[in-house]
């Protein structure tokens, strides 16, 4: 049924991450974990998948001697998200 939906985004956790990143300029890994209630390991794997697809940018640095991972959505990610929502609307027969 959902074969046409973008498989990268059609996953609960990845979609949740992209939905958060579309609403903010940038977010820390800890913030994403807090909002999605995901485990650090699982979230890390899904973030890597989104990064490999070119949908998000991930930068790593240090904050108060602790590692800090910051995620931002890329223009490609925005485009993919918009297409995904359009496809969903088509499935649901929602007309703009």
């Amino acid at each position: 049924m959902f074969k046409d939906l973008n498989p990268i985004l059609h996953s609960q956790l990845r979609l949740a991450v992209v939905s958060i990143l579309i609403s903010v300029k940038e977010a820390e890994f800890t913030y994403l974990r807090e909002k999605t209630d995901a485990t650090a390991g699982n979230l890390s794997v899904q973030i890597n998948k989104l990064k490999e697809a070119g949908y998000i940018d991930v930068s790593k640095s240090f904050k108060d001697n602790y590692p800090q991972t910051i995620c931002r959505i890329t223009p490609l990610g925005v485009q993919a998200f918009e297409e995904y929502v359009r496809d969903l609307q088509t499935y649901l027969n929602i007309k703009k």
Partner: protein, 197 residues
């Protein structure tokens, strides 16, 4: 949240909405800045009003408290920046608006003192309304929208109010525009913080 659970298009849309709403409900500010300036401006204007009768020399310099308040403001801004786990799109815009407001207020104070303008309250109140309304508008935060409009209404009221009573208009504006919204933001911030602990 599970990794690859099958879900329907309705569930997808519901998840998108839920996540977007979760970020919208986040309070980026601790409310301390609004409380600080709401308190400082209220104290200064009330002290000026009271001093009209008392005529204490020391209270003539009460407005220098606004310069001293810049120090805790910087500390608050640094701390909020450090604790921030995400940045919203409007953050830079808001920062720019409030910095330009601060510069404009100090420039206005200088110009008014040079030209010895007696009726100053309407000009300050008009200026106070700009960043307050802009913040309320950008963040869809009604108390600050009301506060901004209140500043402009009080600017008109103060024009017809003789000194020192016009100082009361400034005190009311500081409460409505900053202190009360600050209390609301603080309450929401602490509540959100409690939920995350």
């Amino acid at each position: 949240m599970e990794q690859e659970k099958e879900f329907t298009s309705q569930e997808s849309l519901a998840l998108i909405t839920k996540m977007i709403n979760k970020t919208r409900r986040d309070y980026l500010d601790s409310g301390l800045s609004a409380l600080l300036w709401g308190s400082v401006i209220t104290i200064c204007s009330l002290a000026t009003f009271v001093n009209y009768k008392l005529n204490w020399r020391v209270l003539d310099y009460i407005w220098f408290l606004t310069i001293a308040a810049v120090v805790p403001q910087i500390i608050i801004a640094i701390r909020e920046g450090k604790n921030r786990k995400h940045r919203a799109y409007e953050d830079d815009l808001m920062g720019g608006i409030w910095i330009s407001f601060g510069i404009s207020v100090f420039l206005l104070s200088y110009i008014l003192s040079v030209y010895n303008v007696s009726e100053q309250a309407p000009l300050y109140l008009m200026l106070y309304g700009v960043p307050t309304f802009a913040t309320g508008y950008a963040r869809r935060f009604k108390p600050m929208l009301i506060g901004g409009v209140a500043c402009w209404v009080l600017a008109i009221v103060s024009h017809y109010t003789p000194y020192p009573y016009s100082m009361l208009c400034i005190a009311v504006a500081a409460q409505v525009a900053w202190f009360i919204p600050g209390l609301i933001i603080r309450k929401c911030y602490l509540k959100a913080k409690e939920q995350h602990v």
